[in-house]
Symmetry: C2
Subunit: 350 residues, 2 copies
C-alpha cells in the first residue's frame, strides 16, 4: 500500500469558510478534451460605442441619459433583481414546505471607466483607486440605509460569465437578508473567532505565508493566493494582512496596495492564456446590520472558469451539482503557474 | 404599503433539502438579453459514428474495443476522477487549514443505447426500462464493494453541460465518502424523519399534490414537479409516491412507470424550445454504507440551464456564486409552461 501523496492521489480538501469539501483529482489533468469550446471575440472595441448603454452621454433603456462622466459612474440597475418597496407580510406558519419571505434590496451598476475598450488590468493604479473609493462610498451609503444589512460588490467579466456588455463595469446588490453563502461564511468565521480570539483568515494567512506554496502575490498590505480548498482551476483570494472587517477600514496606503494587487493579479490572469480572462469576483466583508463583527476579515474572491486555454473551461455540472465540486489541477500547480507569470499585462508596451 | 404577492414581488424561498435560500425575482423576466448565446448544433448525427468512442465495436483511448452491444453498455471511465487504490494515510492534526484526505472511488460510463443519434426522450419505454435495470445492477454491484458508501448516478446532456460526446450516455461515480450535497441532504432528511416519523419527501409530495400548482406529470407511482425552491429556470424533481430509499426497491410496475415519466418529462423539455434540451440530472437515494436509512426517499433532480430559448441560458455567476442562487421566472410559471406542453416528442411522427 502506498503512502498518500497529495500531488498525485485523488483526495478531498476541506473549505472551513463554508464547511464543505472539494474533490481533487490531480491525475485527471491529462484527460483529452473533445467537448464545447468557448468563442473568444478578438474584435477590437472602440473607445466609445454609440450603442453601449454604459458609455458617457448615451441613453439607457429607461430613457435616462448617462452623464459625460470621467472616472467611475454609478446608477440604479434598470432591471434590478430586488426592489426597494416595503411589503406587508404575514408569515403563514402552516406552510412547512412553502416557506417564502419578501426581500427588499437595491441593485446598482458601477462603470469602472468612461472608456468602452478598457478592462480592469489595463487601467492605471489611479483609475483603480478611484473604483475602490466608489466601492467605499457605496458600501457606506447603502449600508446606512436602515433596512440594508448586506452589500455585495461583484464583477462578472467576460461573456462566458454572463456579462452582457464589454464596457468595464461591476455591480452592487444590497439587501435586507444575508445571502446564503455569506451567512454560511459568517457562521464559520464567528465560531472560529469565538474559539480562538483571532479571525480565521488572520491565522489562515499566517499558515499560507509560512508555506508559500499557494501564494501568488504578496505586498505590504495584501496577499493574493490560491486557497488550499479552491474549486475553480485558477480560483484566488485576496486577503488583507491587517485584520479589519470592511473596505472602509482601508488606510490610504492600503487603498494603493489593493489597487496594485488587483492590477497585478488580473494582469497575470490575462497573461495566462493571452486573453481577456473571464471571472466572477466579489468582496466578502462585514454585514451592515449595525452589529459589531469582529469575526469578519476583509477578502475578495475570484472565480475564473477557464481550465486549459482561452476556450476550454471547467464545467461544474452533473457530479458537481449533485455531489460536490471537483477539480483536476491541484491548487499548488495553479499557484505556481500564476506566480511565474509577469505582473505586466501582455498588451502593455512597457 | 402593499401586501406580499408571491407572483410579483421579489422574495426568497427556502429549500429544506439543503437548508439554503434562493432569491426569486418574478418581475425580472422582462429584462432584455444582449449577452452570450449558445450555439446549437443542428447537424444530423449518423446512427453509427466510426470516430465515437462509445459506439459498439469501436476502440477507446486505452486501446480496448467496445463489444457489439445492444441495449445499454457499462465500462470503467478511462479518465476517472477517483481511483480504487487503497492509500496509507495518517491525518496530520497540526494542520487546521490544510485538511485533506485520500478518496477511493470508481467511475463508470453507462451507454444508453448502441444508436449514436438517439437521446433519452426518443428511446422506447423498453429501452429506458433497460437503462433503469442497468442502474439497479450498478447500484447493487458498486454498493456491495466494502469501501463504497455512495453511488451517484447522473447524466450530463448537451455540450453546454460539459458533455463531450452526443452518443446517449450517463455516468456513475461511486466513492467512499458522502459527497457534500448528499451529506447536507441526508442531514436534513434525517432531522425531519426523526421528528415526524415520516420522510420529508412523502409529506412534501402530499403538499404539492394538494396544491397542484407545481405538478408537471403525475402517474400511478411517480410525480414530476418544479420544486417550490427550484433554482434553475426549468428545474424539476421526480419523486416516488411510495416511500422507499433506493432504485432497487422498484416493483416491476414502478420500473415501467419511472421509464414512462422519464420519457414524458424529457420529451416536454425538448418540446419547450424545439431543441434537444440540455440538463444535468441525477438520482439521490440511500447511501450504500450498510446502515438503515429510513429517512431517504427516492428522487431524481433535473437541472437544465436554458432560460428563454434554445440559445439563451441562465448564468449562475457573480451574485449567485458569492451570494445566493437567483431566478427570474417563478417555479409556478415554469411548471405551468411544462404542464401545457405535449408529452409526445416533437420529432416523433405519431
Ligand atoms: O466526465 P466527462 O463527461 O468527461 O466530464 C464532464 O462531467 C464531469 C462530471 O460532472 C465534470 O467533472 C466535467 O467537468 C465535465 O466536463
Ligand atoms: O445583471 P446582469 O449583468 O444583466 O446579469 C448577470 O449577472 C447577474 C448577477 O450575477 C446574474 O443573475 C445573471 O444571470 C447574469 O446574466
Amino acid at each position: 500500500m502506498k503512502n498518500f501523496d497529495i500531488t498525485e492521489d485523488p483526495h478531498r480538501r476541506f473549505n472551513p469558510l463554508i464547511n464543505e469539501w472539494v474533490l481533487v483529482s490531480p491525475h485527471r489533468a491529462k484527460r483529452p478534451w473533445q467537448g464545447q469550446n468557448e468563442t473568444i471575440s478578438t474584435e477590437a472595441l472602440p473607445q466609445y460605442d454609440p450603442t453601449c448603454y454604459l458609455c458617457p452621454g448615451n441613453v439607457r433603456a429607461n430613457g435616462v441619459s448617462n452623464p459625460k462622466y470621467d472616472g467611475s459612474f454609478v446608477f440604479e440597475n434598470d432591471f434590478a433583481a430586488m426592489k426597494q418597496d416595503e411589503i406587508m407580510f404575514e408569515e403563514d406558519i402552516k406552510h412547512t414546505f412553502f416557506k417564502a419571505q419578501p426581500e427588499r434590496g437595491i441593485s446598482r451598476v458601477v462603470c469602472f471607466s468612461p472608456n468602452h475598450d478598457l478592462t480592469l488590468p489595463e487601467m492605471t493604479i489611479d483609475g483603480i483607486e478611484n473604483i475602490i473609493k466608489t466601492w467605499q462610498k457605496e458600501y457606506t451609503d447603502l449600508g446606512n440605509i436602515k433596512y440594508i444589512n448586506h452589500v455585495q460588490i461583484f464583477e462578472n467579466k467576460g461573456s462566458v460569465m454572463g456579462c452582457s456588455n464589454p464596457h468595464p463595469h461591476g455591480q452592487i446588490w444590497a439587501q435586507s437578508s444575508l445571502p446564503t453563502q455569506v451567512e454560511k461564511t459568517q457562521k464559520n468565521l464567528k465560531a472560529y473567532f469565538d474559539k480562538n480570539g483571532r479571525t480565521m483568515l488572520a491565522d489562515y494567512l499566517q499558515a499560507e505565508l509560512r508555506s508559500g506554496e499557494r501564494v501568488v502575490i504578496e505586498n505590504d498590505h495584501f496577499v493574493a493566493l490560491v486557497p488550499f480548498w479552491a474549486t475553480w482551476p485558477y480560483e484566488t483570494m485576496i486577503i488583507s494582512k491587517r485584520t479589519f472587517g470592511k473596505i472602509n477600514d482601508f488606510t490610504a496606503d492600503e487603498t494603493t496596495s489593493f489597487a496594485t494587487i488587483l492590477k497585478q493579479l488580473t494582469s497575470k490572469y490575462d497573461n495566462l492564456f493571452n486573453t481577456s480572462f473571464p471571472y466572477s469576483s466579489g468582496i466578502h466583508q462585514a454585514p451592515t446590520d449595525g452589529l459589531e463583527h469582529a469575526e469578519w476579515h476583509f477578502h475578495m474572491h475570484f472565480y475564473p472558469p477557464l481550465l486549459r486555454s482561452a476556450t476550454v473551461k471547467k464545467f461544474m455540472v452533473g457530479y458537481e451539482m449533485l455531489g460536490e465540486s471537483q477539480r483536476d489541477i491541484t491548487p499548488e500547480k495553479s499557484a505556481e503557474a500564476l506566480r511565474q507569470l509577469s505582473e505586466v499585462h501582455y498588451k502593455s508596451k512597457a
